[in-house]
Amino acid sequence: MNYQDILLKLAKGNEDYIIMTAENRAAIRNITEELGNQFLDTGITEQTLAGTAAGLALRGRKPIIHALATFLTMRAYEFIRTDIGVADLPVKLVGCFPGFLSEANGPTHQAVEDIALMRTIPNMHIFCPSDKDDLIKGIKDIAESNNPTYIRYNDQASHIKHKPFKIGEPEIFGTDREVTILTYGFLFNQAFWASDILASKGIKCRVINLRMLNPINKNLIYQLCSDSGLIVTIEDHYKYGGLYSIIAEIFIEQNYSCPVLPIALENKWFKPLLLNDVIRHEKMHPIDIVNKIENYLLRVKNEYFTEWSTV
């Protein structure tokens, strides 16, 4: 089953579901006819899409709305915050082509602050699948939940089989704790690959696929981080307001400090290119990730690492 099949099955089984789009049909192209009046395309109107979805949710419907991640989270931000957020309505907001996935479109299409924006809305859940399999494993629970949810849509090919999905719980790969890499979205694949390379160099590494950035099992994340020598956050998002900020907040709440290496966008949009070239240009290729981690470890070795590796 792919994403469209799952939505179609959900809609066929429950007439409350309504699949909507602001004329961005990429993720739902094959099911529009079959959905009948459970499909609603509002045209290129992200604000009206969000407002209309709120009205439908008031009537007890469960709207799943699709638009480009930038236009949805930014152009319609106030409608999402005010009509869906304030009323706490179970609307699912599917942001297509988020982060680097907008490839060569340019800054107009680069949703690299979407997490920062969405996490300011109380009760807004945030689901960031790392690939197609992860998306498929999570989407049913997400669709059935009663929270408004932002879905950072990603159906990139999967290279591993993911574990069963549970709202708010991360997926943990490995038990080694010299380095803990935290990531979400399609960069999980780069992180996973990087951890293999690091292992081959004798640097023991654990990878955490956050899956969701809200809610977050803060205790578990703190526990995993607090017995690790180095924390690395990897995201195709601004350093501010995304995962790095979330981890910093968790640490501050626990009055805890440790070496953290953020790999993220620093105060700039990324170079518009095809995806593999973006990854290389922005230095998030597995080799780049390995180099950054090795350099960081060398740099902090005298300050922290000796102490931590003997724990």
């Binding site: 009046n37 609603l40 509002t42 045209g43 109107t45 604000q47 009206t48 969000a50 407002g51 209309t52 979805a53 709120a54 009205g55 439908l56 949710a57 008031l58 009537r59 007890g60 419907r61 709207p63 106030e78 409608f79 005010t82 009509d83 304030v86 009323a87």
Partner: protein
């Protein structure tokens, strides 16, 4: 509609206006905008909408949305007038023990949705109308928008969508008092010819005097104005209607009067003898 019906509506309007005036003290409210749509809201709740204290959760009820949310004192008072909101709660305006504040919210019985940011509720109402339409209900979804509010492009976007989906159960009433916060609408972004603009977006339009109950009655009993189209009723109104000392005044948008001024305004409502108002003008909220 009989003369007696009209008399009853006029009496209800006077009571609602009294309540609205009483809310413009100790912190104040958007008085002028509330008084311009009072007669429309009174007519809707007394004579038109299938909304009553018993059917507030009935999916087949009519829906009323106040998109220009700052005129909510008129709605609070009308809801009290028809027994949906406990009358004693009007005294809680701006009080910590209740949720009766400057813009609508769903914690107040009878209020379907919050507003305050302009240009939102046409799209929310379109969602409600779409669902009612596909369920083949015969209910009506009515939205009052301000004329100044029509500066917001989202209204026009929502109309394009609503007409595309033939939502003829959706009715837009424009409180055309010709003012926005600081000035007359035509002095900033002229809206006229307003009916032509709505028609160009696929709506069917009627124009009435928004203070004449016969006009309101006639126009609302002709719905829908055209099959498959959103009906738009442009109700020509007067900002501050009923209080000559603040009528059509740009500097009396938000009003926070003294107790003495309130008493004088309550008298003015019945006698039309202008009050001597000394409170701060051009209050900004």
């Amino acid at each position: 509609m009989s003369d007696l019906d009209i008399k009853h509506l006029e009496e209800a309007s006077l009571r609602v206006r009294e309540d609205v005036i009483r809310m413009s003290v100790n912190g104040g409210c958007f008085l002028g905008a509330s008084l311009s749509c009072t007669d429309l809201i009174v007519y809707l709740y007394k004579n038109f909408l299938n909304i009553n204290p018993e059917n507030l959760k009935d999916p087949k009820r009519d829906y009323f949305f106040l998109s220009k949310g700052h005129d909510v004192p008129a709605l609070y008072a009308a809801l009290a007038e028809v027994g949906i909101l406990e009358r004693s709660r009007l005294k809680n305006h701006l009080k910590e023990n209740d949720n009766i504040y400057w813009h609508p919210n769903r914690k107040v019985p009878g209020i379907e949705f919050h507003s305050g940011s302009l240009g939102h509720l046409l799209s929310v109402a379109a969602g409600v109308a779409y669902d009612c339409k596909v369920k083949q209900l015969n209910n009506k979804i009515i939205v009052i928008v301000g004329d100044g509010e029509l500066n917001e492009g989202s209204n026009w976007e929502a109309l394009l969508v609503a007409n595309s989906y033939k939502l003829d159960n959706l009715i837009v009433i424009v409180d055309r008092n010709e003012f926005q916060a600081n000035m007359m609408t035509e002095d900033l972004l002229p809206l006229n010819p307003l009916d032509k603009k709505f028609e160009a977006f696929g709506c069917e339009v009627k124009n009435i005097d928004g203070h004449m109950f016969e006009d309101i009655d006639y126009a609302l009993n002709k719905l829908p104005y055209s099959k498959d189209k959103v009906s738009v009723l442009i109700a020509n109104t007067v900002r501050g209607k009923g209080l000559p000392s603040i009528e059509k005044r740009a500097d009396r948008w938000f009003c926070n009067f003294s107790e003495d001024e309130i008493n004088s305004l309550l008298n003015e409502l019945h006698t039309r003898i202008k009050s001597n108002l000394t409170s701060e003008k051009l209050f900004v909220r």
